[in-house]
């Protein structure tokens, strides 16, 4: 396959960026999208040009590092797929493909297609945990959890933190990401102890980071590579509202 790529190039955080066109030739349909970029980067290197920086690591769809906005969609046109698991067989010979970084004020561009998602970490640090120290915990089977609850909590827990939800949302809202953790822990008995402070603090940090509000467009869930459900956002809203109404934090 021969393709034309339009790729966002930006030297660093401060520099202005632009879309740059690169032709690529001889792409196999069995290649992954990132392997196609590897091929381009090897060519660029041989020509002495700066290769395109993009985030990637596990290349099996679980680490959440890859983050490309391909042809107007986060992680490209395939549903339920990370960029690294997107294969070139979903494109046609002669296609022009646009590749951009996630766009959000809270995700500034480091370079080219690499963005800074540390805002996500700070939100998790605000309360995405159960406060137990190592040791001194009860036997694992002392806390029975119904299978359906465990499965549902698991569904929320599969979030890979890639940020596609933010990239897809017209408001750059991080609600799906935040809700996945809040609802996972709110559903489990272990997490109920801190559910109020968790919801309050994580939402507060989310707002501090400059993410937009949720318009319930559903774009986030539609683009989520691991299928985090919109129901989690409703759970977050509920958790937040009841926390604010009943917690003892008056400040």
């Amino acid at each position: 396959m021969d393709l034309t790529l339009k790729v966002w190039r930006q030297k660093n955080r401060e520099a202005a960026g632009a879309m740059v066109t690169y032709p690529v030739k001889g792409i196999s349909p069995d290649m992954s999208f990132l392997e196609m970029l590897d091929v381009l980067n090897e060519d660029l290197l041989r020509r002495g040009e700066d290769p395109i920086a993009f985030d990637h690591d596990c290349r099996e769809g679980i680490c959440g590092m890859c983050s490309l906005y391909i042809n107007g969609r986060p992680h490209g046109p395939e549903r339920g797929t990370t960029t690294c698991q997107l294969h070139m067989r979903h494109f046609n010979d002669g296609d022009t493909i646009s590749i951009e970084p996630w766009r959000a004020a809270a995700f500034p561009v480091h370079k080219d297609l690499v963005v800074d998602r540390s805002a996500f970490d700070r939100i998790q640090q605000a309360g995405g945990y159960i406060s137990v120290n190592t040791g001194g915990v009860p036997d694992a089977n002392a806390i029975p959890i119904g299978k359906s609850i465990a499965d549902k909590a698991f569904d929320a827990a599969t979030c890979i933190g890639c940020g596609a939800c933010v990239a897809a949302c017209k408001n750059s809202s991080a609600m799906l990401f935040v809700s996945a953790k809040v609802s996972q822990l709110a559903m489990l008995p272990q997490g109920k102890t801190e559910r109020k402070t968790r919801a309050e603090n994580m939402v507060s940090q989310m707002d501090v980071e400059g993410f937009g509000a949720c318009s319930n467009t559903g774009a986030c869930a539609a683009e989520c590579p691991v299928g985090i459900s919109l129901e989690n956002i409703a759970i977050l809203n509920r958790e937040y509202l009841s926390a604010k109404a009943t917690s003892e934090h008056v400040a």
């Binding site: 107007g72 969609r73 951009e100 750059s172 400059g210 319930n216 559903g218 409703a234 509920r238 604010k244």
Partner: protein, 224 residues
Amino acid sequence: MNWFTKTFSSTIGRKIIMSITGLFLCSFLVVHLAGNLTLFYKDGGEAFNIYSHFMANNMLIRIMEIVLVLGFVFHIYDAVVLTRRNKAARPVGYYNSHPEQNSTWSSRNMGLLGTVILVFLLVHLWNFFVPARFGELEGVPNADYLNLYSEVVLAFKNPIYVALYVIAMVALAYHLIHGFQSAFQSLGLNHKKYTPFIQKFGYAFSVLICLGFAAIPLYFFFFV
């Protein structure tokens, strides 16, 4: 800021206000439409004029009127604040974006739809509410109420008004199609058992209410 203002100035808090006011405004639509249906009585406007007289003079209605205004104000104010925040959350846009592949047009254009509705609302108030409320209407012979009905007949003979009303009702329908079910989601009311019903009901509600409203100008334009 205390906890209360903090809560309702957070993104979620503002969405909660949007949804509560939105649902309240939906209830207003029901009452308003129910009253307006008296226009279809072939009694020369008597029922309608009695209804409008009641609405203009009843104490409870006058109080609710203030609540209604507040509902609009909060709904619009939070919409503006959130829209500005949302725009700021993405200072650099995409070169190539295909949101139509992951979300509905109405859900992404609530602000635009709302603005159309707002423009309509102002015109609508100017047409009917202001004259009715501030006594610029003619009286009805042998009755202690005023003749808003004649005002309606007059207005809806104007094709520009009729067009504006119909367009506004289409916008309102789309606004509600997303807004109705979205309000439940914002309030955290999402459940396997009930959400499918809420979504279907919301769709039917939006279409029927707006058809009802749009039928009035069309009826007067073509049949009266």
